[in-house]
């Protein structure tokens, strides 16, 4: 059960090493602090899960952020009602988002193509709008669901006194707000990666790929595809729920914006940026997006002036003026441009860029013929 083909095993080992050593190799990038490391692990997990649906079956869901939100709410409620331990929170997050995905998937998968996308978008937007307004007793609306000093926390308080101040999320004594939270998320990311690999190489995964390349043919051969796509949808939703739960574990707050359609859109962008259907691509896309968001939004004019200080004064102000349009408050512009460029020049995402690079310089272009069918194009 825990075996993988050799090629996949190598991928897995590389991935595990890369993830676990992130605090080391990210230090020169200024990204090695718990807050960002946790986001890397969590959004990586989200992207891996999304790829199971989008990459394998070709169904483009525009409402995955809803499951992220449901997972977060479930986790925070588990902290509030039961215990500050991370395990039950994560379990509830996965179960609840799985059920939610089952309901939405059952209805949405009656349609395909863009109709499916719009259905998932509509469900997610309804969840978001309601969470923001009338469901406030459950979600605490705009402010986001938070821990309070009066929470019942029945399991915790059965064993210990109420402490002054807000409790912290722990995993059997390990604080989840710092590096502990990162390693917890990282281990789950690696496990999630492994499961995704198993799915991809399994007969189930083959059926999913068949659905992507030609659903009609699958139907004609007597395979009822709906249960397969629904299973992929629910699994993918559970990944998103787990990611949402982890967001709450590392930072116990669940806000409604997590469910907004732009959050779903961001997830699609991450996956495509990295390379749909590849194993590493979506994770890479998620890391790059989160890193750029972090770096570019941190720039301000002072930083820029420091950066270009070596230039003559006049030139410096011009360069800073131009550069400031692309960083800090202008970083969305960079983001938009980046997507246009990636899609125009690298339709298969960064992983395809890597493959082209390798082909060009190491295989002398011989492997080119092989590339098109390996390259995983998202379906319509």
């Amino acid at each position: 059960m825990l075996t993988l083909p050799k090629k996949e095993l190598i991928k897995f080992v590389i991935f595990a090493v890369v993830v676990l050593t992130m605090p080391v190799w990210l230090t020169p990038f200024g990204a090695s602090y718990p807050g960002l490391l946790q986001k890397f692990a969590i959004y990586g997990l989200l992207a891996v899960g999304f790829n199971i649906l989008f990459g394998l079956t070709g169904y483009l869901s525009f409402g995955h952020a809803a499951f992220l939100g449901v997972g977060s709410y479930a986790a925070v409620w588990s902290f509030k009602l039961l215990t500050m331990n991370a395990i039950p929170a994560v379990v509830f997050a996965v179960i609840l988002s799985g059920l939610f995905a089952l309901a939405i998937g059952y209805l949405s998968l009656r349609r395909s193509g863009i109709y499916f996308s719009i259905l998932t978008l509509a469900f997610a937007q309804m969840s978001y709008n309601l969470a923001y307004s009338v469901l406030t007793p459950i979600t605490n609306g705009e402010t986001g669901l938070q821990l309070t000093l009066q929470d019942p926390r029945v399991l915790d308080l059965a064993f210990s006194e109420r402490e002054a101040g807000l409790p912290i999320v722990t995993l059997f004594g390990i604080d989840m707000a710092g590096y502990g939270g990162f390693y917890f998320s990282a281990v789950l990311l690696i496990a999630g990666f492994f499961i995704a690999q198993k799915i991809t190489t399994s007969p189930f995964g083959l059926v999913l790929k068949g659905i992507k390349s030609n659903q009609n043919r699958m139907n004609y051969t007597g395979v009822n595809t709906r249960p397969y796509t629904l299973a992929a949808f629910v699994i993918s939703g559970m990944y998103a729920g787990l990611a949402g739960g982890l967001l709450a574990v590392t930072d116990p707050l669940a806000g409604a914006e997590r469910m907004q359609w732009t959050a779903s859109g961001e997830l699609v962008l991450m996956t495509i940026l990295g390379g749909v259907g590849t194993m590493f691509g979506p994770v890479l896309g998620a890391w790059i997006m989160k890193y750029l968001e972090n770096i570019f939004s941190a720039f301000n004019e002072n930083v820029l002036h420091g950066f270009f200080a070596f230039l003559p004064d006049n030139l410096e102000s011009v360069v800073v003026l131009i550069a400031s349009k692309f960083v800090g408050e202008g970083w969305h512009l960079t983001l938009g441009l980046m997507f246009v460029f990636v899609v125009v020049f690298l339709p298969g995402g960064l992983m395809e860029g890597y493959r082209r690079f390798v082909n060009r310089f190491f295989n002398g272009g011989k492997a080119k013929a092989e590339a098109p069918d390996k390259q995983t194009q998202p379906a319509e």
Binding site: I114, L119, L121, F123, N129, P347
Partner: protein, 342 residues
């Protein structure tokens, strides 16, 4: 009764606007087969044509006073609008009617923008998967929004409508009702008529011109039309330009109702897609019917009486309608089989 009537009127008014915004989107999809996520951004750019035109008209010569200081300690600025200096009273009239005049200005500007977009970017994506079309146009939408923000800031910029039509019309009196029973703003009525005219013009253009004939033929069978030796590419460019013009002038006329901001495009994006999908992808009559349907339902969902029965219904009505229609009628109201299903 009055309440229901005025709510219905409001629904028609909103519906006209929705149909107009969705029209270009479904036109581009139907002919070019492109899912254009930048359509909302085109609408936004249109509204900023109005803003830019007004700013141009109200451009002022700024002189710094040598003696007086402003309350915040810098030299006092003495501002004289060029338009008044050059044109006198006519300048005032120009400024007053800046929005309707901007419609005329927007037609060439938006056409040019549409052609540039199509030639520069969109045409490379005709054969690419829809997911990539979505991504590239979504990226383009972000870029257009941010460019607008660089020039005009993030705050809404008010665009007054002409003085003569600022008030509200007492429609009730026309139907023999009491005074003030049903009043409605002039500009909204104008917008409604405007949207009907534009929609009618687009339909007539496609119905009664040779160009329209070819485009409609292209919508149903692109390959055959290409085989007949007709240069379909050039026509596609024109269709995209046309869609941009329709969205752009819709944006210009909308500015007095909704002071434009750079995020206007994203705000209307989801809505216009829902309208198109409910109507049936690529169906022009569908977009119009769905626009009015959603407008009217949205208007009624806002009534206190309705909200008392279904709390929060006004928050989700648009999406709820989309879900129900798509589950009951798989291809939307007027959709054709086989469009966008695989």
């Amino acid at each position: 009764m009055d309440a229901i009537l005025i709510q219905f009127l409001n629904g028609l008014d909103k519906g006209g606007a929705y149909a107009l915004i969705a029209l270009g989107l479904t036109l581009v999809f139907g002919t070019l087969g492109v899912v254009n996520f930048a359509h909302g951004a085109i609408f936004m750019i249109g509204s900023f044509v109005a803003v830019a035109f007004r700013q141009l008209l109200t451009l002022e010569r700024v002189e710094l006073s040598e003696t007086e200081l402003s309350p915040w300690g810098t030299a006092l600025e003495i501002r004289t609008p060029y338009a008044l200096e050059w044109f006198g009273d006519f300048g005032n009239v120009l400024i007053d009617y800046s929005v309707p005049i901007a419609v005329l200005l927007a037609i060439p500007v938006m056409y040019l923008l549409g052609v540039l977009m199509e030639r520069g970017l969109i045409k490379h994506f005709y054969k690419r998967p829809h997911a990539e079309q979505i991504l590239v146009t979504f990226g383009l939408a972000i870029v257009l929004g941010e460019v607008a923000r660089t020039f005009f800031g993030a705050n809404p910029i008010p665009q007054p409508m002409p003085e003569a039509v600022r008030g509200a019309a007492d429609i009730g009196i026309l139907f023999g009702m009491a005074e003030h029973a049903v009043t409605y703003p002039w500009w909204r009525l104008i917008y409604f008529v405007f949207s009907l005219v534009v929609i009618g013009a687009v339909f007539a253009f496609l119905r009664f011109t040779t160009f329209g004939l070819v485009v409609r033929a292209g919508m149903s069978d692109r390959e055959t039309v290409g085989l007949l030796g007709i240069n379909i590419n050039r026509r596609f460019t024109i269709v995209f330009g046309l869609a941009a013009v329709v969205a752009g002038i819709a944006g210009v006329m909308y500015t007095p109702l909704l002071p434009p901001t750079y995020s206007l495009g994203m705000d209307f994006l989801v809505l216009s897609f829902v309208v198109v999908v409910v109507g049936g992808m690529g169906s022009l009559p569908g977009a119009v019917a769905a626009g009015f349907l959603l407008g009217i339902l949205q208007s009624f969902a806002a009534m206190t009486e309705v909200k008392a029965i279904f709390p929060g219904i006004d928050q989700v009505i648009i999406y709820l309608v989309a879900v129900v229609i798509l589950l009951v009628r798989p291809r939307g109201l007027f959709g054709r089989k086989g469009v966008m299903e695989n």
